[in-house]
């Protein structure tokens, strides 16, 4: 992943951090730069990761970094900025915090940007194998977990797997994260990606235009997204989607044949049937690549650490 838009000092320091383990870069104006790795959060010093705050690089102005990331072309990101993020070529997503500019209650822009959260995408082959072996396709599947555990990574591998199984797959990539904004990730030879459109528009249009067997999408949330998947179901198209919603009562609003709870990529996933009866516990260890695993909060026994597989 290129970080041309970052200040030289930060870029040089990032070269000393293992890129395969890097999951986040947190930038706040006037504050120490913090990086998230698969093991922990640490400060970013000139010699790489450090626990000593005194050695950390301090970011001058987050707004300058954001402007550089957008290559001075705010107009190309206006719609994304309304939702407090931008996605770069390659799939890295930058979350933006600052002062919202509103008009009639709607967010139109963000000014005085103070914080950025750069999320680094991962691509792990074979990590969906355990889940796919325990569900009967074609069917509707929802993958759920809290943010940062690898749902998008899992979706990429699912796209590849079901595409190679002979299905036409349509990726409805609202934030350009799954496909990485173009050809950044291999999603399989029978996969088409629609980027930038909201799910309801994408589902409605793409079902007619592309005739998919499966639609893949991420971050289901709210009524419009529920209507989108209902639209797919009515048209006889199966969907596989991820969501941050974790409460079973809320999840039930998105009707599916299977629900898969992701604990972390490289760790465990729990597959449920449509009535939330557990079908199995399965692994999400990949067959190639570096597996990014974030320790699960609150339970000491769930610290998976790093699993590197060939």
């Amino acid at each position: 992943m290129e970080f041309d838009f970052l200040p030289d000092e930060i870029r040089a320091a990032l070269n000393l951090v293992d890129g395969d383990k890097l999951t986040e870069i947190r930038l706040r104006s006037g504050q120490a730069v913090i990086v998230g790795t698969t093991e922990k959060y640490c400060y970013l010093g000139r010699k790489g990761c450090t626990d000593d705050r005194e050695l950390a690089i301090v970011l001058d102005d987050a707004e300058i970094v954001l402007s550089a990331a957008m290559e001075g072309s705010v107009f190309a990101y206006t719609e994304q900025l309304r939702h407090s993020f931008i996605t770069l070529d390659g799939g890295a997503r930058i979350g933006v915090a600052g002062e919202y500019v509103t008009e009639r209650g709607e967010i139109t822009a963000i000014k005085n940007v103070t914080s950025l959260n750069i999320r680094i995408p991962h691509d792990i082959y074979g990590c969906s194998q355990g889940i796919l072996e325990n569900i009967r396709l074609p069917s509707d599947v929802i993958i759920f977990s809290r943010p940062g555990l690898g749902k998008t990574t899992l979706l990429r591998d699912i796209a590849r797997s079901i595409s190679s199984a002979g299905y036409n797959v349509l990726v409805c990539d609202e934030r350009s994260e799954i496909s990485g904004g173009g050809r950044a990730f291999d999603l399989g030879c029978r996969t088409d990606a629609v980027r930038g459109a909201d799910k309801l528009s994408c589902f409605g249009n793409a079902i007619r235009a592309m005739r998919p067997d499966f639609i893949l999408t991420d971050e289901l949330y709210g009524e419009r997204d529920r209507l989108a998947i209902e639209c797919a179901a009515r048209c006889g198209i199966n969907f596989i989607a991820s969501t941050h919603v974790c409460k079973q009562s809320d999840l039930a609003a998105f009707r599916a044949d299977y629900y898969a709870e992701l604990c972390a990529i490289g760790g465990e996933a729990i597959v449920y049937d449509k009535d939330f009866n557990i079908i199995c516990h399965c692994s999400t260890v990949g067959t190639s690549g570096n597996i990014a695993v974030r320790p699960k909060k609150g339970k000491g026994e769930d610290l998976f650490g790093i699993l590197r597989v060939q």
Partner: protein, 122 residues
């Protein structure tokens, strides 16, 4: 050689005018990034990189132009570019006229000087 500066000025304003038109279309449709769009316009690309492409008032105008493009949402950008369109068109036409006038003047002067040298030598 005498008219090289005028030629360069005319070329630069022509490029900026064309770029402005392209950017207006781009904002209404594709919304590709500035530098990608500017690839076909070398002087615009140089200006976007912070280089001074012209001096004096011309330079100040172009500096102001490049500092304001890409900074806001498409609607405000379109308003801004439409506001600059007339100025750029005027500068493009004026610089092209000036180049044409001076280049033909220089050609005539050179021709006359050549004839004068010929007469003197004869």
């Amino acid at each position: 050689m005498l008219s090289a500066r005028k030629k360069e000025r005319a070329k630069i304003f022509s490029e900026f005018y064309e770029f402005n038109e392209n950017l207006l279309l781009n904002l209404k449709y594709e919304k590709i990034k500035l530098k990608e769009l500017a690839k076909r316009f070398p002087s615009v690309l140089r200006a976007l990189d912070g280089q001074e492409v012209l001096s004096g008032d011309d330079g100040a105008f172009l500096r102001d132009y490049t500092q304001n493009i890409g900074k806001t949402d498409p609607k405000s950008q379109i308003d801004y570019l439409n506001g600059r369109r007339e100025q750029l068109e005027r500068l493009r036409n004026e610089s092209a006229e000036e180049y044409k006038r001076y280049s033909s003047l220089y050609v005539k002067i050179c021709l006359l000087a050549g004839i004068l040298v010929g007469v003197l030598l004869a």
